[in-house]
C-alpha cells in the first residue's frame, strides 16, 4: 500500500516538475526543476528495486551534469523573450507536425503486440539471489563489453574534439614547474655576503636587475641586504 502511494507521489511530482522544466520563465528555475525531476526518477528506480541505477542517476545527472547545466545557464545572459518571439508565427506549423506525429503514434500503438518473453520478464525484473549491481556489471562488462569499450572511444573522440576546437595554447603562458621549484635549494638562490658598514651595494658587487638604482641612503643598507633572503 505504502509502495503504491509512494509511487504515485513520486510519479506526480516527476510529471509536474518535468512540465515546469519547459514552462518556467526563469532558465535557472528550469534547471532546478530538472534536478527535481531527476530525483523523482531516482526514487521511482528505488521503488522498482534498481537501487544502483537510482544512485548513479543522482551522482551522474544531478551531481555532475546538472551542475554544468546550471553553471552555463547562470553564466549565459540569454534573452528568452527574444527567443520566444517567433513562437506565435511558427505555432501552426509546429502544431500540425505534432498532431501528425500523435496520430501516427496512435496508429502504431494500435498494432502493439508484446514480444512473447516480455510478459513473463515483467514480473521478474531481477533474477533472485543476484544483486542488481552485480547483474548490471555482468551486462556491461561481459555481455556488452564491446559496446562499453566502443562508447569509451566515442567519449575519447569527443574529448579530443573539444580540445582541438577550443584550446588556444600560444605557448607564452607562464607555467609553474612544481618539481623544479621543489628541487631548488637555498644554495642555488641565496648568497651570504658580508657587507661592511657604510659600504654601498655596488661596492659589494650585488646588483638587483633592472631596478633603477636610487642614490643609496646609509640607513637603507640593511634593508636592501635583507631583501635578498
Amino acid at each position: 500500500m505504502i509502495a503504491t502511494l509512494a509511487f504515485y507521489v513520486f510519479a506526480v511530482i516527476l510529471l509536474v516538475s518535468a512540465s515546469m522544466v519547459v514552462s518556467a520563465r526563469n532558465p535557472v528555475h528550469s534547471v532546478l526543476f530538472l534536478i527535481l525531476t531527476f530525483f523523482n526518477a531516482a526514487a521511482l528506480f528505488l521503488l522498482a528495486g534498481a537501487e544502483f541505477l537510482a544512485m548513479i542517476l543522482v551522482i551522474v545527472y544531478v551531481g555532475a551534469v546538472a551542475v554544468l547545466f546550471l553553471f552555463v545557464v547562470m553564466m549565459l545572459d540569454v534573452n528568452f523573450a527574444q527567443l520566444r518571439e517567433g513562437f506565435q508565427r511558427y505555432l501552426p506549423v509546429g502544431a500540425t507536425i505534432g498532431v501528425v506525429l500523435l496520430v501516427e503514434l496512435f496508429m502504431v500503438l494500435g498494432g502493439w503486440k508484446f514480444a512473447p518473453e516480455a510478459a513473463s520478464l515483467r514480473f521478474a525484473p531481477v533474477t533472485p539471489g543476484v544483486h542488481n549491481t552485480a547483474q548490471l556489471g555482468r551486462l556491461l562488462y561481459t555481455d556488452y563489453f564491446l559496446l562499453f569499450q566502443a562508447s569509451g572511444l566515442v567519449l575519447l573522440v569527443a574529448m579530443i574534439g573539444a580540445i582541438v576546437l577550443t584550446l588556444r595554447d600560444k605557448g607564452d603562458g607562464r607555467r609553474q614547474d612544481i618539481s623544479r621549484q621543489l628541487a631548488r635549494t637555498a644554495a642555488d638562490t641565496l648568497v651570504m655576503v658580508d657587507v661592511a658598514t657604510g659600504a654601498g651595494m655596488k661596492d659589494v658587487g650585488i646588483l638587483r636587475p633592472k631596478v633603477a638604482e636610487p642614490e643609496p641612503v646609509a640607513a637603507a643598507h640593511d634593508h636592501g641586504h635583507g631583501g635578498h633572503h
Binding site: M107, D143, V154
Partner: protein, 478 residues
C-alpha cells in the same frame, strides 16, 4: 560466459587500430614539437597493419553476438582502410599548406576508421549505433578543424546539429524495432521476422527511421541538405575523406541491416529505397549542373552516386549487393583521385576551388589534366573506365529483378550527369589557358596516379574484386 566464448580475437584488427590510435595520441601530446607529419605516417602504418590483420579473415560471431566478422565485413573494412590511408596521404601536404598541421588530425581520422570498421561488423542494432556515432563524431570535429575559418566552423556545426538529429531518428527507430520484436540482435530479428505477416506497423515505422538515419550519413535525398555546405566549408582534405570511407561504411551497414534482419520484409522497405534512390539520382544530376565551385559539384555528384548504389540495394539480390560493393570500390578510387587533383589546384600558394580555374589545364599541366579527365569520364560512366563497370553491375542486377523503371531512370540521369563531368573536361582542354598551377607535391601525384591507374585498368583485371564482392554478397543471403 568464459573468456574464450567471447571470441574476442575476431575484433583484433579493430583493437589493434584503436590501440595504435591511443599510442599515437599519447605520442603527439607528449612530444614537444609539432608532429603532424610523423603522426600521419604512423597512422598510415597503423592502417596498413590493420589491413594485414583483416586479410587472413578469421570469420565468426563474437562478443555475445554483437560483432560479426565475415567476408562482407572484411571486404568493407579493407576498402575503408585503403580509402582512409589514401586520404591521410592526401592531407599530408594540404594541411601543411593551409596551416592545419596538428597531430590530432590523423588521430581523429584513425578513430573515425575504427568506428567505420565497427559498423562493417555490426550484427546488433546497438553496435550499429555506437559505431555510427564514433564515425560521425570524429567527422563533425574534422569538418570544423579549420576553426578560425567561418565556413569550416559553420560546416562542422551544421553537420553536427543535423547529424545529431539523424542519430536521434535512428535511435528512435531502433527503440521501436526493439519494442515490437523484443530483440536487437540481427540473427534473432531475422528469426522473429521470418514470417513477413508477423511484422507490425510499428516495426515498419522503426525500419523507416533506421533507414532515414543511415540515409543521412550517406547523404541520400531527402536527407542530403547538409552535403553541399559541409563539402564546401570543410578543409578540402576532409572533403576528400567525407566522399570516400564515410560513405562506404554506412552504405555497407544499410545493406547489412536491410538484408540480414529485415531481409524477409523486402516488400516493406524496397519501395522506400527505390524512392530515395530515384530522388538522389535526379537531384545529384540536375542540381550539379549550375555549380561553379568544384567542391559543391563533388557534393552533388556524391549524392547522385549514392542514388545509383541504392539501386543495387533495392534489387535485393546477391547480384544487387555485389553491384553495390563493386560500385563502392570504383567510386572510392575515382573520388580520392579527383580530390587529389582538386587539392593540387593552387596558384601562387593560394587554394582554388572554382571550376573556371581549371581552364586550359590541358596545356599547362597535361598529366594532371589527363588524370582529371580520366576521373571525370569514369564518374560519368564512360566505358571502359571503372565507373562504367560499377554502373553495369548495378543496372544489370536491377534488370534481373525486373526493375526496368529504376534502371532506365539510372541510365537517363547518368546521361544528364555526364554533361557536367564532361563540361569540366571541356574547360580543361578547350578553354583559354590561365596561369599554370604551382608544382604538384609528390604525395598528391601519387594518389592521383593510384586512382587513375585503378580507374583506367579496372576492366583488365576485374576478376579479384568481382569475386570478392560476390563472396561478400553471398554471406548476407545464407
Amino acid at each position: 560466459m568464459t573468456w574464450t566464448a567471447m571470441n574476442w580475437t575476431l575484433a583484433v584488427p579493430e583493437l589493434v587500430l584503436a590501440c595504435c590510435g591511443m599510442g599515437i595520441l599519447v605520442f603527439g601530446v607528449l612530444s614537444k614539437r609539432e608532429t603532424f607529419q610523423l603522426c600521419s605516417m604512423l597512422t598510415i602504418g597503423a592502417f596498413l597493419l590493420t589491413g594485414v590483420l583483416v586479410l587472413p579473415g578469421a570469420y565468426g560471431v563474437g562478443y555475445s553476438g554483437l560483432f560479426t566478422s565475415d567476408a562482407f565485413s572484411a571486404f568493407v573494412k579493407l576498402l575503408v582502410l585503403v580509402a582512409a590511408a589514401l586520404c591521410v596521404v592526401v592531407s599530408l601536404d594540404y594541411n601543411e599548406h593551409v596551416n592545419l598541421r596538428r597531430f590530432e588530425f590523423p588521430v581523429l581520422m584513425l578513430f573515425c576508421t575504427v568506428g567505420m570498421m565497427l559498423m562493417a561488423s555490426a550484427s546488433n542494432l546497438m553496435t550499429m549505433y555506437v559505431g555510427t556515432e564514433l564515425m560521425s563524431l570524429a567527422i563533425y570535429v574534422l569538418a570544423a578543424f579549420a576553426r578560425d575559418e567561418l565556413r569550416s566552423a559553420e560546416a562542422g556545426l551544421k553537420y553536427f546539429v543535423l547529424g545529431a538529429l539523424a542519430s536521434g531518428l535512428m535511435l528512435y527507430g531502433i527503440s521501436l524495432v526493439y519494442g515490437f520484436s523484443g530483440s536487437m540482435a540481427f540473427d534473432k530479428l531475422a528469426e522473429a521476422l521470418a514470417d513477413p505477416a508477423s511484422a507490425s506497423p510499428g516495426l515498419v515505422v522503426g525500419i523507416v527511421f533506421i533507414v532515414a538515419g543511415l540515409a543521412f550519413k550517406v547523404s541520400a535525398v531527402p536527407f542530403h541538405m547538409w552535403t553541399p555546405d559541409v563539402y564546401e566549408g570543410a578543409p578540402t582534405s576532409i572533403t576528400a575523406f567525407l566522399g570516400t570511407a564515410p560513405k562506404v561504411a554506412p552504405m555497407a551497414l544499410l545493406v547489412r541491416a536491410m538484408a540480414t534482419p529485415f531481409g524477409q520484409l523486402l516488400v516493406q522497405w524496397q519501395q522506400l529505397i527505390v524512392l530515395v534512390s530515384i530522388a538522389s539520382m535526379l537531384l545529384g544530376s540536375l542540381a550539379a549542373i549550375g555549380q561553379r565551385n568544384i567542391k559543391r559539384l563533388m557534393a552533388y555528384s556524391s549524392i547522385g552516386h549514392m542514388g545509383y548504389v541504392l539501386i543495387g540495394l533495392a534489387a535485393g539480390s546477391v547480384d544487387g549487393i555485389r553491384g553495390v560493393l563493386i560500385y563502392l570500390v570504383t567510386y572510392v578510387f575515382m573520388n580520392v583521385g579527383t580530390f587529389a587533383c582538386i587539392l593540387a589546384m593552387r596558384r601562387r600558394g593560394k587554394m582554388l576551388e572554382g571550376i573556371s580555374d581549371l581552364a586550359g589545364l590541358g596545356r599547362t599541366d597535361p598529366a594532371m589534366a589527363l588524370a582529371f579527365a580520366v576521373f571525370m569520364f569514369g564518374m560519368a560512366g564512360i566505358p571502359p573506365l571503372s565507373g562504367f563497370w560499377g554502373k553495369y553491375f548495378i543496372f544489370s542486377a536491377a534488370v534481373q529483378q525486373g526493375m526496368w523503371t529504376l534502371a532506365v531512370i539510372g541510365v537517363l540521369t547518368s546521361v544528364v550527369g555526364a554533361y557536367y563531368y564532361i563540361n569540366i573536361v571541356k574547360v580543361m582542354y578547350f578553354d583559354a589557358p590561365e596561369e599554370a598551377f604551382d608544382p604538384r607535391p609528390a604525395s598528391l601525384s601519387f594518389v592521383a596516379a593510384v586512382g587513375g591507374l585503378f580507374t583506367t585498368f579496372f576492366f583488365v583485371f576485374p576478376a579479384p574484386v568481382v569475386a570478392a564482392a560476390e563472396a561478400a554478397a553471398k554471406v548476407l543471403f545464407r
